[in-house]
Amino acid sequence: MNDFFTILTASIVAINCALLGVFLLLRKMAMVGDAISHAVLPGIVIAYYFSGEKGSVLLLVGATLSGVLATFVIDLFSRKARVQGDAAIGMTYTLLFAVGMILIATLMQGNADIDQECVLYGDIALVNMDKIIIDDNLYIGPRALYTELVAGLVVFGSIIVGFKGFKLLSFNEDFAKSVGIKTSRWHYYLMGLVALTTVVAFEVVGAVLVVGFLIIPPATAQLVTHKLKAMLVWACVFGVLAVIAGYMAAVYFNVSITGAMVTVSGSVFALVFGIMRLRRSKSAKSVIAAEI
């Protein structure tokens, strides 16, 4: 039963990340996603320090804000200060991550809830420790599962309601601007959702490995299809596939669960990449053969 809940929780993380990741990739902002996921760290530590618990709303808000702040700072560096784009991303997230580390060292001394390891790969194995039990004996799953579900609803709802907006933002920002759509509003909305998702996923998969969930499945989906809706579906499929297979591998080899999930995800990417290359070279050969 515990296995089931762990896989279910991680699957929802994977789906949330995959959906948003598709839009990030289409906007050529994969590394901005990477930056956000690192940059939520100081927000998480500060909010945790003041609220004293992991599940608080304050933590959610604080950390999400620090993620959005990161994208804002990147914009400021690259547009106003004329630092070149990739350097701006690198500078911003390393700074915020360093601040987070210093805060952990000063505020969190001897605190078991937020330590360095959990920053890296989360506590997915411990997800089941924090249970929600109603009527004294009815166990309806870990708390993280419900946090993820709520976040999932927010992400899913936002994408359905704002589908047109996100689509325009991803494919033709200039056109969207010219017909009077406030693109920067949509941009920061997307960034806010990414930050929210990484924050919520923090205790499950950690701040660093969440990048694997955010980028790899959508990248694999991009190899398979050109169509946006199909891309979203494929990304979710690849994400959940990696979660299930990764969990089983991790249990079998007795290694880090999150690490195994992302490793499997990367392997799936390599596999799909290889298959697409083979098919393309085959079809190219058959075209040449037909012409001869």
Partner: protein
């Protein structure tokens, strides 16, 4: 203050190792970082840093212990593979470079985490300290490692000095480098290898995530101060070393403080300072330049408008006017007009008399000079380009403020005009 003298007297051997180690690491990474920055490949360093982790674990599994050379070899190998994979993915699919970086980075890092937990759980031998590679532990730098870092720094320095011209050409114009027969792929290989080497050296002190800052930030900060590549590299190295030693000192003075994050924070603070205060490219100086320019434009527009006042051509009588006279000819923002006239009074071009203003002799001269530049440019556009008479005015309106006396003389010579051209469009 006690800890300060303690630290900088270098009486503690540990302090010496840490400081020497930081100097070597920071100098190496700032050097290769400059080239990465110029080639707009800063984030590649990020991919490499994360990808070193599985290599380090392989190195440990092969050696069965923490042998620095084998760990470095493993790290070098996987770091190299990661750069190759990023390039391969970009070349053979529709995926963008940053997507490819993200995919490679997280896959390799995850593999590293898996191997790390595998090593920890099988629990054979002495694996303590392997997790230093994740977050960095500068205080743990040993004597052997310092000598290794020195060797790496010497290698990087030698290559950069010997192949300086080739590397510069490759960074600024790889296509041209290829056409003149430079083995571009070879030098790309060399540069990539140096990058991997520098990151591999620094990773134990800074950790996989923060080491990217050592590659990216020094060059970005130094770039704000200079256009000269040699100065850029020197400055990047100096900034980086300064921050390295500062970070080491802070963690020495306050035991709980980690070194790596403080190095990164001081680096970022210097960069932020540069962004604000660097000459010419900084926020502050750009603001002043912009303000100076807009003031100059307002002043010259006022002078030009005075030229059009009915009494201007009559040199014998005094030319008096009010602000309203000016706004009737050309719409001015009231506030700007007030300030502009105040400035002109201070420059002695206008005098105040009661509620009116009087033009001085030097004011008349300056006014005529601007109008002359304007009309000269109009004539130039008319004669040398195919621009119509009703379009030359707007071009001249912009250029008149930046024509230097040399260009003025050139224009006069070219057009054969002496004095102010008659026609005004």
């Amino acid at each position: 203050m006690h800890s300060f003298t303690d630290f900088f007297s270098f009486s503690n051997a540990n302090v010496v190792y840490v400081v020497l180690g930081m100097i070597c690491i920071n100098a190496s990474s700032a050097l290769v970082g400059t080239f990465a920055f110029l080639r707009k490949r800063s984030l590649i360093g990020d991919a490499v840093a994360h990808s070193l982790l599985p290599g380090i674990c392989f190195g440990y599994l092969v050696a069965g212990e923490k042998n620095p050379v084998l760990l470095l070899a493993g790290a070098f190998l996987t770091g190299w593979i990661s750069i190759f994979l990023v390039d391969y993915i970009v070349r053979h699919s529709r995926l963008k470079q940053d997507t490819a970086i993200g995919v490679v980075l997280s896959s390799f890092f995850a593999l590293g985490v898996v191997l790390l937990t595998y090593i920890q759980k099988t629990g054979s031998g002495n694996h303590a300290g392997l997790d230093h590679f994740l977050f960095g532990q500068a205080a743990a730098i040993t004597r052997d490692e310092v000598s290794l870092f020195v060797v790496i720094l010497v290698i990087i320095l030698t290559v950069v000095v010997v192949f300086y011209r080739q590397l510069v050409l490759l960074s600024f114009n790889p296509e041209y480098a290829a056409t003149i027969g430079l083995p571009v792929r070879l030098f790309e290989f060399v540069l990539t290898s140096l990058t991997v080497l520098a990151i591999a050296a620094g990773i134990q002190a800074l950790g996989v995530i923060l080491i990217s800052a050592l590659i990216i930030t020094p060059a970005a900060a130094a770039r704000l101060w200079t256009h000269n590549l040699k100065w850029l590299m020197l400055l990047a190295v100096v900034i980086s070393i300064f921050c390295g030693v500062t970070g080491a000192y802070i963690s020495y003075a306050r035991t709980a403080m980690p070194t790596g994050p403080w190095v990164v924070v001081t680096l970022s603070l210097i960069t932020l300072g540069s962004i604000c205060f660097a000459p010419r490219r900084g926020f502050v100086s750009r603001y002043y330049i912009r303000r100076k320019n807009s003031r100059k434009i307002t002043d010259e527009n006022i002078l030009k408008t005075i030229f059009k006042l009915p009494g201007f051509q009559n040199q014998d009588t005094e030319l008096t006017f009010t602000r309203v006279n000016l706004t009737e000819i050309r719409p001015f923002d009231t506030k700007e007009l007030h300030r502009g006239i105040d400035r002109l009074i201070r420059r002695g071009l206008i005098q105040k008399s009661g509620d009116d203003f009087v033009m001085t002799t030097s004011g008349r001269k300056e006014s005529a000079r601007i109008v002359k530049l304007h009309r000269l440019w109009e004539q130039y556009l008319l004669r040398r380009t195919r621009i119509d008479t009703d379009h030359v005015h707007s071009g001249a309106e912009a250029i008149e403020h930046i024509i230097t006396p040399e260009i003025e003389a050139e224009l006069e010579r070219e057009l054969g005009i002496k004095g102010i051209p008659e026609d005004d469009y």
